[in-house]
Symmetry: C2
Subunit: 121 residues, 2 copies
């Protein structure tokens, strides 16, 4: 958990980078409560004629609201948004168990070129 000050500092840092962060939420208007979120993170490149690359990040649905297609709603929204803001592609890293879910939106691995590798510090 983070303090309000930490949140605001991070929010300000993200906001100061135009076109980089599209934090999208679903709100339960009756309860005034955010119940799902996902972020489109955009990276600017020099390659591919100064392309923009989108990434789908941090998809979360409140557990009390699961089974209502909110994940589908928010993933569809982010995917469309990436196209609208002119990303040449959008990608995500995911666990094997959710690959079929993302396949249903058109995401796929490219054979022989679909590995993600990391170092955790």
């Amino acid at each position: 958990d983070i303090t309000k000050e930490e949140f605001e500092a991070r929010f300000k840092a993200m906001k100061s980078c135009p076109g980089h962060y599209y934090v999208t939420v679903v709100e339960d208007l009756d309860k005034g409560k955010i119940v799902a979120t996902a972020t489109l993170a955009v990276e600017l490149k020099f390659i591919r004629q100064c392309a923009k690359r989108g990434r789908l990040e941090d998809v979360v649905v409140n557990e009390d609201y699961r089974g209502r297609q909110l994940g589908k709603l928010i993933v569809s929204t982010i995917t469309l948004l990436a196209k609208v803001v002119n990303c040449y592609k959008i990608g995500l890293d995911c666990a094997d168990k959710v690959k079929l879910f993302y396949n249903s939106f058109g995401y796929s691995g490219e054979k022989g070129n679909d590995s993600t590798m990391i170092i955790r510090f």
Copy 2:
């Protein structure tokens, strides 16, 4: 290919996002020529206590300069840089044929959680 104006506009946009783009180059000082490059792209997050995530992007070595360990030099540099600027992890997406290369720096896939999927627009 891009015009000088397009390059400069993109450079300016990247520069206006502090801490997001670390475009790293190797220069042949005798020839005044850039011969290798890679970029550390940083994404700010709210999750993980406002963490920063690094990504290794756009690794290129001029073909006349291959076989001289410049790829190794620049990948090591970017990886260290990600740690220095406090990324909690650094990741990359890659083709199967270069997985062993990245393994040698400590990058690895997490079993059952190492797929990357995309949509190209």
